[in-house]
Amino acid sequence: MTATAEKTEEVGAVESFTVTLKILRHDPDGLDGREPGAEYWEEFQVEAHATDRVLDALHAIKWEQDGTLAFRRSCAHGVCGSDAMRINARNRLACKTLLKDLNPARPITVEPIKGLPVEKDLIVDMEPFFASYRDIMPFLMPSGPTPERERLQSPEDRERFDDTTKCILCAACTTSCPVFWTDGQYFGPQAIVGAHRFIFDSRDDGEWDRLEILNDQAGVWKCRTAFNCTEACPRGIEVTKAISEVKRALTSGEV
């Protein structure tokens, strides 16, 4: 128990420090003499505690300094996928990034995720992203008669696609992919993850329909194994692995 007592000292202690956030802002309305759509950097200083996350700092800014700062968030613990943003040039969830892990001595840069149209401050238009997801037919397509009880599936078969079921559609992966940055037509890693989840589900029989879609010009072959997606995924999904498995299914003809 002593170890815990020490640990909890840290948790309870109110050791606070000041951090500077440098935020890339985007003003769609063109207020205060700016052009509509103007982009500019703005710095804020925030008092923070050891357990504070970037989201807490953004809230501190919004709630105490500048109410016009706009960003999306909901769950605040990394399960809803609302708040993917570029923090210190890496895509992360603001609610899962602890300030103390970011070297608070230097200003923390916060930008919207790249490759999707910015709407306001850190809010981007997610529609193209969701459109790619919809394109890969992300729903079970079983064939044969519907059973009365559940479809059976062995734990091993269930395990095959476990990793990709974790996706929260946060877009951190897709918007970190250098291929997606230059070619927005690319379905992006998320859509492949979404397809993988069904392609390798033993209950699904639509795998070749999806593979067909991913075999497209804008599909899985666009991936250059840059691994940014894997590094960005806040759910720890091995995105590049999923992509590779899809490529392998396409080259070998076997799922």
């Binding site: 059976l152 010009q217 396409l250």
Partner: protein, 152 residues
Amino acid sequence: MTAPELTAPRRPMNRRTVGGAERWSWIFQRVSGVVLIVLIFTHLFVNLLTGDGVSQIDFAFVAGKWASPLWQWWDFVMLVLAMMHGTNGMRMLVNDYATRPFVRAMLHWALRISMIVIIVLGSLVIWTFDPCPTDAAGELLEGVPSFCESVL
């Protein structure tokens, strides 16, 4: 509990899927890459590291090599594969960066033409190569390999 056994047949790959251009290009990139590694490294090794290295390269050196069909084939395969691999790679690059359809089409054509020109030119050179060219008077030109003399 009448759940049927799950022996859902894995649908075999259908024709359309087999023919994805992007898929073949991806496979080709890998296969040609592996072959090229052997070809190019031997090429570089022979040309640059054996003997006198880069300074040995002259007409005679080349002529000496191409006198043997092995090296003719070697360089030919290397040329074709490298050009195709390179052009295909460049094509992927163009697809990534050139978003305007017209620009993209132009660049694709430029690539295709340059590939064909280079391959045709290169193969002509390799196959029609005459290690002992003579001038109009039938004299050997300067710089030809020494074995030409015995041929005459």
